[in-house]
Every structure is written in C-alpha cells, then in structure tokens.
C-alpha cells in the first residue's frame, strides 16, 4: 500500500514541475505550447552534457535548468511572439514546428541511444516495505520545495500578484501600469527553467532520450487541462490525479471481474489511461476541475 503511494508520488514529481510551467505560461500567452515538453527533453540532454564534462551533478542540474530557461525565452521572443500576432491556432502549429526542430537537433547531435547519468549506486531506502532510491527521494523533495517556494511567490509577493493580475485581466493590468512584457518574459524564463529541471531530474532515473518529450506530452497536457490551463496550483493537483490514476490502473487486479486469479492491465496501457482521463476531462469539465468562473457562452 505504501509502495503504491510512493509510486504515485514519484509519478507526480515527474509531471508536476513541467505541468506547472506549462499552465502558468498558458495563463499569460493563451496558447497551448506543444514544444514545452521538448524543453524538458533539452534540459535532460543539457544536464547530461554538462555533467559528462566533470561538473558535479547538482551544479549541472542547475546550469541545465538555467540554460533551458534561456532557450525557452529566446524561442518565445524570436518565434512565438511573432506568431501570436496571427492568432493562437498559428502559434500552436508553430509550436509543432519548434518541437520538431528541437527533437531533430537533439537527435542529430546526441543520437537515439538513451544516455544514462552516472549516478553512484546507493542502496534504496526501505520504509515499511516501500522501496525508494536516494535519487528519487531527492527528486521528490526538490519538487516539493520548489512548489512551496512557488506558492509563496505567487500568493505572497508583489511579483506574484502582478503575474496573477496579468493572467486574469491583461487590459486592466496594462492600465494599472504593470510592465506586461517584463512579466511575460520573466514567467517564460521561469517556466522554461522548471521544465528543464523537471526533465533533467526525470532523466536521472530513465536516462536522457529523444522520446522523453513525446512521452510526456499527453500526461502533462492531461494534467494541465484537468487542473485548468492557466491555473498553476490546479496543474499540480491535476498531475497528482493523473499519477494516482495511472498507478491505480496498473496496480488493480481485475481478476475477480473475469473469474480468474490474476488479470492486470498491460503496462503499455498506462499512457492510454491518462489520455482517457484527458478526454473525459475535456468532455465534462473542459475548463478544469477547479473552474469557478461563470461563462455565458
């Protein structure tokens, strides 16, 4: 049972940071950026590249996330700002193009073989029968700490208030003298950093590979939509929900239903589970579970 919770928590940590960044950025730029998950993939490869030159792992992770943030900002300024003038649909197709280019660049430079980080092997911690490696523990703790910092930033500082104001009502925020460009750029940078960090920490256990981004695409979007795009805290809750469902679906024994001893869903259906939640969410709660806004359309 505890192992079950640990698995769900780990999966949440996989998704949470990337989803958080995606959702936060959506609040400001109002189009779903498909390339966001590829930033995570780039972060993973950057961390690997920096780490393999002999830089300590923690420093490599921080550097990689800063570089990913920078990359995100540059792409936003050079590409998406211009595309957004033609509307969100064009920007979304543009994000497809960007994600193709990023995958192509990484594939060309690093190849399709997964790159494993040389993390020193340590005995996994065993807490009441649940196994958890040290790396995973650090991953979860870092994610939780960052989320806490983020909540404080968003709800208890001037910057956070400006961010929320801008997401909520851009015209009014502009009229009140907020510097929209600076805030958007800042948020872009932060969301890129979070994606890079999330991706590189994920790669610590799975290795950095080219399909990292594609594999994350639908779970991350499912979580973000479930939490309501544009709602960063909802995104984390969405990630938790997706992680719980994925873990439940793979751990439940359907045997009694079919009159057999052991019937488990094939592991490859895990991803289908999150897509199914996404579809159900879109059908019944298209604006997320935590939507309180009244709409007349």
């Amino acid at each position: 049972m505890l192992q079950f919770l640990v698995d769900a928590l780990l999966r949440t940590a996989d998704l949470a940071l990337i989803t958080l960044g995606l959702s936060m950025l959506y609040g400001l730029i109002k189009f779903p950026n498909i390339a966001h998950v590829q930033y995570a993939m780039c972060g993973a490869f950057l961390a690997y590249a920096i780490n393999s030159t002999g830089v300590p792992l923690v420093v490599a992770l921080v550097l990689a996330s800063l570089l990913t943030g920078l990359l995100t900002l540059v792409i936003q300024l050079l590409v998406f700002d211009r595309l957004l003038k033609s509307g969100p649909a064009i920007a979304m197709i543009g994000s497809l193009a960007v994600s193709m280019i990023l995958v192509a660049a990484v594939l060309g430079m690093a190849g399709s073989f997964p790159r494993m980080f040389s993390v020193p092997y340590a005995e996994p911690l065993v807490i009441a029968g649940a196994r958890l490696s040290k790396t995973q523990l650090w991953f979860v703790l870092t994610t939780l700490a960052l989320l806490a910092v983020f909540v404080v930033l968003l709800f208890h500082t001037q910057v956070g208030r400006a961010m929320r104001a801008l997401a909520c009502n851009p015209a009014l925020a502009d009229a009140s003298g907020l510097n929209a460009t600076r805030i958007t750029n800042g948020v872009t940078f932060i969301s890129g950093m979070l994606a890079g960090l999330g991706g590189s920490m994920l790669a610590l256990s799975t290795g950095a590979h080219v399909n990292l981004g594609y594999d994350l695409l639908l779970p991350v979007f499912a979580a973000a939509i479930l939490g309501g795009l544009g709602n960063p805290i909802g995104a984390v809750a969405g990630a938790l929900l997706i992680a719980l469902t994925e873990t439940v679906v793979t751990n439940i024994n359907f045997g009694p239903l079919f009159g057999e001893a052991l019937v488990f869903l094939p592991v490859s259906y895990i991803s289908a589970a999150s897509f199914l939640i996404l579809l159900l969410a879109l059908l019944f709660k298209p604006y997320g579970l935590f939507d309180r806004e009244v709409r007349r359309v």
């Binding site: 189009f31 779903p32 590409v79 211009r82 595309l83 033609s86 969100p88 649909a89 064009i90 979304m92 197709i93 543009g94 497809l96 193009a97 960007v98 994600s99 193709m100 280019i101 995958v103 192509a104 660049a105 990484v106 594939l107 060309g108 190849g111 399709s112 594609y214 695409l217 639908l218 979007f221 499912a222 939509i225 094939p266 490859s268 259906y269 991803s271 289908a272 897509f275 199914l276 996404l278 579809l279 879109l282 059908l283 298209p286």
Partner: protein
C-alpha cells in the same frame, strides 16, 4: 533509380490523398485536427484485418472508409463544447489512444508485429508492371480526390465550411447547423484519408503502428501549411515540396556518409524549419487560397 522514382511518386500520391483529406478539415473548415493520422491508421488496419480474416481483399477499403466516418462523427461530437485549441489536443489524444489499442490488441491487429502479407492490388500482373499499374491507380485517385476537393470547396458545402471558419456566428444566423457542418467535414476528410491508408497497406503489404505516430500528422500539417492551406493546388504543391526534401535526404546521406540518426534528424529538422519559415514569413503558403471577391 527507376524503382526509387516510382516509389517516391507512389508515396507522394498516397500522402497527397491524405493531405487533401486534411485540407477539407484544416483548410476549408478551420478545424485543428492534430490526430489526422488516426483516419489513415483506420484505413491501414481495416485492410489488414480484412486480409487477416480471409475476407476478399477489396472489402478493407470501404470498411476503412466507413470506420473513419464513424470516428469523424465521434470526433465532431467531442468537439461540441470545446474551444479549437482544446479540441486539437483532444484529437491528438484520440489518435494516441487508437495507436495504443492497435499496439496492444494482438488478437485483432497483430500487436507490435503488425499484420504482414497483405496482397498488393495487382498480384496477377507480372514483373515491374504491377508497380506501374499501382502507381497509375494512385495517381488516378489523387486526380479524382483533387477534382472532388475543388468541387467540394467551390460548392455550397465548401462555402458553408469557409463561412463557418471565418464567421461562425454569421453561419449560424444563415441557418447552418455548425455541429452538422463540422461532423460532415470530418466524415468527408476522414473517408478520403482512410482510402489513402488502405492504399498504404496494399503498397507495403503490411499494417503496423508505425504509420500512426503523431509525427506523421505533423508531416501532413506541414504539407498543407507550406503549400497553401485551403487551396487544392497549394496542397498538392506542398506534398511535392515535402516529398522532394524526403527524397533528397538519402542522396545527401550517401554523399556525406552520415548515420541513420543524423538522416532522421535532418528530415525532421528540415520539415520543421520549412514549416516555421512558412509560418513566420508566408503564412498563407506558397499558393494562397483565393477567396471570392464580394464586389
């Protein structure tokens, strides 16, 4: 060289039919379908399953088109309450779910091994001529699809779709049921694409999930976007441009001698760069859609 040419032309033809199908949705109706390859996948598997069950080989084609129309109807139902960008993600999810199902239901689809040994359409014809016949058939179907697509676009249905794309409220005012329009467009585009999928299965004698990757949808989108979204000749031009890039990469590989990863990345990267440049500098594509002048 001759074989390579025939191969390139045939593949281009099959993709052209798929792209024309996407053009009905994306071009005429302005629907962001990011799961378009699911229609082709249905065609591929309809033919494959018909063969595996021992049914006459041509049954697969109408079967696939019917199934694709059903899927199109379902996708339109899904889109009833969704904004376009949400709907785009939903279609992406639908395509991925279908791919996962196809990968796992081994009894029906052969799982990861796929269905092999699907007969090509002109088995009895000897030598290289069966290839030529097939290519001619594909090109003929492209011509038919292009003709239908022009007719459709200029007819009442196409004009209604364009009106829905530009001014949904006005279209509703004029008595069009937007939901019906959308589902008809999806059924129409889906059926055309499923036909191309069946041809694909006959050509490669194989049905598998590699045809259903999301990346394939993006390739179709690139073809439609760079050629000229909403215009039949534009879409055909886009297909030719993308296929030329694809056909060019193997030569480059032999000349410079790099590995398959680099070749794959070069393909993907070139398509991405072309699409991005087109979006940044020539959004309407190489051959822009001609809208009738109201005056």
């Amino acid at each position: 060289m001759y074989d390579f040419l025939i191969f390139t032309v045939t593949i281009a033809g099959i993709y052209a039919i798929m792209a024309l199908g996407l053009n009905v949705l994306a071009g005429y109706s302005g629907l962001l379908n990011f799961g378009h390859i699911a229609f082709a996948g249905i065609g591929v598997y309809a033919t494959g399953i018909a063969h595996a069950r021992g049914w006459p080989v041509l049954v697969g084609i109408p079967l696939g088109m019917l199934a694709a129309m059903l899927l199109g109807w379902a996708m339109a139902r899904l889109g009833r309450r969704l904004a376009t960008d949400y709907w785009a993600i939903a279609t992406l999810a639908v395509a991925e779910i279908l791919r996962t199902v196809a990968l796992n239901e081994a009894e029906l689809t052969g799982g990861a091994n796929g269905i092999t040994g699907i007969p090509s359409l002109f088995e009895s014809v000897p030598g290289p001529w069966n290839q030529v016949y097939f290519t001619t058939l594909v090109l003929g179907l492209v011509a038919v699809a292009a003709f239908l697509s022009v007719r459709l676009g200029d007819g009442r249905f196409g004009r209604a779709l364009r009106l829905m794309r530009e001014q949904p409220a006005l279209a509703a005012c004029m008595g069009y049921n937007l939901q019906t329009l959308k589902s008809h467009a999806l059924m129409c585009g889906g059926a055309i694409t499923a036909l191309a999928g069946s041809l694909y299965a006959h050509y490669f004698n194989f049905a598998g999930t590699e045809f259903m990757l999301a990346a394939e949808t993006f390739v179709l989108w690139t073809m439609v976007m760079i050629g000229g979204i909403g215009r039949t000749s534009g879409v055909l031009l886009g297909v030719i441009v993308v296929q030329m890039v694809y056909a060019f990469v193997p030569f480059l590989r032999d000349m410079l001698g790099f590995g398959s990863d680099v070749a794959g990345s070069l393909r993907l990267g070139m398509i991405g760069v072309i699409l991005l440049c087109c979006l940044l500098w020539r959004r309407e594509g190489l051959l822009p859609e001609k809208l009738r002048n109201p005056a």
